[in-house]
Amino acid sequence: MAEPQRDALIDTAFGYASLGERIAATVLSGSRTGWLLLLAGFTTLSLLFLYTIMLVFTVGVGVLGLNIPVAWGFPIVNVVWWLGIGHAGTLISAILVQLRQDWRNSVNRFAEAMTIFAAGIAGLFPVLHLGRPWFAYWLVPYPATMEIWPQWRSPLVWDFFAIATYITVSVLFWYTGLVPDLATMRDRAKPRWAKRIYGVLCLGWRGAHSHWRRFRTAYLVMAALATPLVVSVHSVIALDFATTIVPGYHSEMFPPYFVAGAIFSGFAMVLTITIPLRRWLRLEAVITTRHLDIMAKTMLAAGLVVVYAYLVEHFVIWYVGDEYERYMALNRILGPYACAWWGTMAINAGVTQLLWSKRIRTSPAILFCVAIVLNVGMWLERYLIVLSSPHRGYLPAAWDTESGTMIDWLMLLGSLGLFFALLTLLLRWIPAVSIYEVKELLHERREEG
């Protein structure tokens, strides 16, 4: 159908039924070869991921690019990056729902799915980075025969709790929102077995008004809880670094700075997914260029915060005048990791500025490219922070450099594969867009006339 006028959030020409059909169709209508090919491709990459994991588990983290002094490498970079991506989803679904940003209704569903997968993958990396991953469960406080407990002063323990909580809450939140739509699927699906499955999954939702009320409060309260959670998670991640005394890690401003970065990269990923998705599922009418515009703006805002953080970081280093910090900052710009620094700056501080132009914000193709570049930029930034800081610490005699091995890169690639594979699968089984919420949106727009 024709592209609706520019700044509409939804095409009011729809009826509730046709709208529901259109969205449900993305799932229910017969198999598509394109989808299968996509899935095949991504699955292959996921197998690559599996292979690298096997390698790390059987041979040891030695297969990755690590040494003393650079004992943290790609896995940590990837944790931070993936979690950041996850955060945008929560932001859209949780924070915006409280701000009554109804434009979110069209995108929150798969944004949340994205969050879950991203957070899940992010949750894998800290384990993969362990020397003895099979003892990861020692971070859980349980009555062990050793009669010892986790060491609560360690930010890594906070990490464990933050990420675990984050994943659980994200899943809950996502599932809660899904229940009414699963009911819709139950009633739309043709084959009885499909009806049955959706029937069970939707727990017998009937859409009674009293249910809707409890549902709304639960949903809002969860959102209210998820909001500080999402902030806390990346703050805690930031604390892994900030609580150390490593020049380049030890920075009081890391928590807010990391959160901003998270939203920034997160929205980049949302766009990276949305743009091809709406085209492919022919949802232009539901996810309009208006949505892209808004998200691009949000991204620009977050990006500016990040740039501000860069400025403040360097100012503080200069202002405090600690010789080690100063050397670190200079070393990033001129030292072995200079490429990463200049790259980060060029992208996060430079490319972001393109988003000032409405033409770019509203032309899917260009926006898509920008989004991808920004993803890379944010990965680079984390790479810079994690690797360049310890490589020239306090004692010059202990200085050494480290960069990723082939396995490191394969692992990163593989994790991307897994991420998209899961997303692709999901799109076939549950509606890509929250049906009841867009109907609500449609209703409101009708009210407005």
């Binding site: 025969t145 050793m146 009669e147 029937g199 017998g204």
Partner: protein, 217 residues
């Protein structure tokens, strides 16, 4: 439109939902019980040995002192398993034909060691010193149990870190007078008074006995 599910499915669904919530803690609890089980720790299970040596007979009935065979116990971290010759000091005269002792005689003749199966097995990274314990009032029975009653030797309990910690944090109850260290039948005269007396006598201050470095290196 017909019902998708029969009426009973409601109770089933609720039940399933409840179990789903409960199974997580259940599994964890199960595992924790498992690692404490005798089957897992080998406690109370006598392994098969090349020779059916009976502490009940030698220590219990004949009353041979522990140190006669475990010579290192007072001078070395390890009590020591007696060399074949020690067995032969008696068994070159007694039971010289006994079928059960054939492996011992062979070992003596061939010079090939007997190969016993370890009963009291600490983790490799936990270092236990017999000498310092027996010199500071900890009796054999405290860890090895009533071996004088065991026809076949077995560990009386699991040697978890917890077992060591409990005593290291509160040694008093397990202390005995110097003369009673190898006395298998002696039972502690309970009474805070002489517990304190023993603690004082051996000059044991427990506040640092649970340092990692006490057992791990």
């Amino acid at each position: 439109m017909p019902q998708l599910f029969p009426r009973w499915s409601n109770s089933v669904a609720r039940l399933a939902f409840a179990t789903l919530l409960l199974c997580v803690p259940a599994v964890v609890a199960g595992l924790m019980l498992h690692v404490r089980s005798d089957w897992f720790t080998g406690a109370g299970i006598a392994p098969v040995q090349p020779v059916p040596f009976s502490h009940a007979h030698h220590s219990g009935k004949l009353g041979i002192d522990c140190r006669y065979c475990h010579t290192g116990v007072e001078s070395s971290p390890v009590a020591g398993i007696p060399p074949t010759r020690t067995c032969m000091t008696c068994h070159s005269q007694l039971w010289t034909e006994a079928e059960a002792l054939a492996p011992v005689r062979e070992s003596m003749a061939s010079g090939q060691s007997l190969r016993w199966t370890r009963v009291t097995d600490l983790a490799d990274y936990a270092y236990f010193d017999h000498a310092v314990h027996v010199h500071n009032g900890v009796g054999c029975a405290s860890c090895h149990g009533a071996v004088q009653t065991m026809p076949l030797t077995m560990a009386p309990h699991a040697f978890h870190m917890g077992f060591c910690l409990d005593c290291h944090r509160d040694p008093g109850p397990n202390l005995r007078p110097p003369a009673r260290i190898t006395d298998m039948d002696w039972s502690p005269v309970d009474g805070a008074a002489d517990t304190r007396a023993l603690l004082a006598h051996y000059d044991i201050r427990s506040e640092r006995l649970d340092d990692c470095s006490i057992c791990h290196r």
